[in-house]
């Protein structure tokens, strides 16, 4: 060994060091952490999954789901193109934040609600603060949401629509909306399910998380758990959707 030239020896030492650290940091560390997590915090470690009465996984309480027209929903998670009603939300569900994605047929960014919550590709539109397309799509979302949420005798104007209801999240997976956004959608939900706004508000409250230790983060309403609670407590066979303008020019 010692007869080998210096640089070769050095790289051999480096290789042996890398292998040693691979065993420590690349094998032992993650396995120990997984062991601890699985034993001590099973629910969180598995991804805060939600199961239905049959034991099937119906989602994670940390991730959003799309609540759009059924034909679009079938293909939403697998992200198949050219499905009609790609942006048409179901009236009886709270809608999480919108998705602006490139529509290959329209040749640019359009509103595509069914494209959101794609568990295989998180991310956002990454459009800049002065982008003309983004400006247009946010404006369209304002009128879309105003018409959508003006139900059951309540009128929501475009200017009143909550800001998080017209902008995409950073991850595209966020189940959370602001309490203002939830309140704005409450009348529509009550109308679609034939219940009172107060009943909806009670469930919103039960699915709202405040700031951690009173100061960290912002209050947020979890649309995934909220919609599950709605379906359990106030089941409805109503499947009506509302047509959204998508901004496709072609």
């Amino acid at each position: 060994m010692s007869r080998l030239p210096g640089p070769v020896l050095r790289h051999l030492a480096a290789l042996r060091a890398m292998l040693v650290f691979t065993v420590i940091c690349g094998v032992a560390y993650p396995l120990v952490m997984t062991g601890i997590g699985q034993v001590a915090f099973k629910n969180q470690a598995d991804g805060s999954l939600i199961t239905n009465s049959k034991g099937q996984v119906i989602g994670s309480k940390l991730l959003c789901q799309t609540f759009v027209s059924s034909s679009a929903a079938e293909t939403a998670l697998n992200k198949k193109d050219e499905v009609t009603g790609y942006a048409d939300p179901i009236n009886k569900y709270f809608q999480s934040r919108p998705t602006f994605a490139i529509d290959s047929t329209a040749g640019g960014y359009t509103i595509q609600l069914a494209d959101g919550c794609n568990y295989a590709a998180s991310g956002s539109n990454n459009l800049g603060p002065n982008d003309p397309t983004l400006t247009k799509l946010i404006g369209l979302m304002r009128t879309n949401m105003a018409a959508f949420d003006s139900a059951g005798g309540t009128t929501v104007t475009a200017a009143q629509v909550a800001t998080d209801a017209v902008t995409e999240s950073g991850s595209g997976e966020e189940p959370y909306i602001t309490p203002e956004n939830a309140d704005q959608q409450a009348a529509r939900i009550a109308d679609a399910r034939g219940i009172t706004v107060d009943q909806v508000e009670a469930l919103i409250k039960a699915n709202t998380s405040g700031r951690d230790i009173g100061i960290l983060g912002e209050p947020a309403v979890n649309t995934t758990t909220l919609n599950i609670a709605l379906d359990q407590k106030y089941p409805s066979s109503d499947t009506s959707t509302t047509a959204f303008t998508t901004g496709a020019t072609s």
Binding site: A13, R16, M18, G26, M33, N126, P129, G172
Partner: protein, 554 residues
Amino acid sequence: MSVATSGWLQAGLLVLALAVTYRPLGDYMAHILTSAKHWRVEKGLYKLMGVDPEADQTWPVYIRSVLAISVVGILLLYVILRVQDHLMMSLGMPAMQADLAYNTASSFVTNTNWQNYVGESALGYTAQFLGLAVQNFVSAAVGIAVVATLIRGFVRTRTDRVGNFWVDLTRLILRLMLPFSVVFGIILIATGVPQELSNHLTSVTTLTGGSGNLYTGATASQEAIKELGTNGGGIFNANSAHPFENPNGFTNWLEIYLLLCIGFSLPRTFGKMVGSHKQGYVIAAVMGFIWAGSAATMTFMEERHWGSAMAVAGSSMNGKEVRFGVPASALFASSTTLTSTGAVNSMHDSYSALGGGTAIFDMMLGEIAPGGTGSGLYGMLVLAIVTVFVAGLMVGRTPEYLGKKIRPAEMKYAALYILATPSVALIFTGIAMATTTARNSMNNSGPHGFSEVLYAFTSMANNNGSAFAGLSGNTDFWNTMGGLAMTLGRFLPMVFVLALAGSLAKQRHTPASVGTLKTHTPLFAGLLTGVIFIVVGLTYFPALALGPLAEGLK
């Protein structure tokens, strides 16, 4: 409570936590880097590596060891990524293509963690663990090892020895990175970050009857070292914006703390090792001042939300998460770009022109406030040397710093250090703008498109790794040039730092005289801050004017 109040309180609690851990963490790192005693397990590891822990290395040997482990690291990681489809527990993910694997390997070995792939559909457990996790630990420790030699250069006299790389590296991983990652990783799991190893993706049937597969991943173990080691490479494409990486306001705060804590405590290590805590306070104060200024500027810009799209939205929430809101997003963004982390909890591409511009400027500062693990402090110390030199010019005497003369040799290394990273960032930006295929990767047009390119090479040359993510980086041009930029931006400065350390260590100690500029005073902190802004401003102003300033000031 208003958004503004809670924003101030979050930042205040962060400052408090960093202040409380400054002394114990800094002293502990000094102990790691100076203790003569080896742990028994460490002695065993040295035998396995075939290195002599008692050997003190000269600076050329030390830097060659750094480069050797980096070359080996890049090759190993490249191979793992290329053959992923043949490895167990890869969840059926395919092998990575050659240019992307080269880019990713360079990226993780250089502590950059720029990612041109979508993590949740590109990498299985084996590549994440054997490949990325290992580099997250090693690259973070290498940074601290390099700054240790520079500090030793100030402390030691009339020697050509600057320390033992293998000992520094092993101790930093075993005694610092590993235990901290375990503790904070467990906290992250408890607060909602997944950590599981099932050999398949979880299949989900949603409420409306859609079905698909859910990637949960062994996220918490990666998340802890990703922040602690200022790495920044996420399991998921959306990085710390993804609810699995960063589920709530508390984890968000904790992740910001983790990515800042080593950087902000290293000045204490420095003060302890050079025998004057005040020297450490001065450096920490300058870091803190720049960090606070950046966080305040960014929060202000995002709250004001200038821009046509933001005006219609009524906020800067496009690309931000509701559970964090604007203040906690801006705090994360400025902290991640002032360190070499590059993790993001919101999409910087969608920030207001001047908010995103602040992120670019943060990286242009050379990531020194507090900077990456180790790299932040050595960047700051080089600037301190430039500062005493400038002050020395004013009064016409040979400048000294910590009892060492700053002679032409030292100044040459310092100047080369200062020039290396900006040269890479600006020349590569120029090349990209002159190349049609490179320009085609822009998601936005006009000045914002230029900002995407400028951000990319500034981020890669400074080993940050965050992006204006609209840029489609997975092309031949970006993978190849990016890999080059990251490697040059990492190792050129390191060579100059090691040379500087060697040069300083050889000197005898010069006792302070009446004419010596005192470097533990607020005056020096002010001078240092001034030099930082002048150097960076002069270097980068033209480029900034074409991008964020052109967009934000029109």
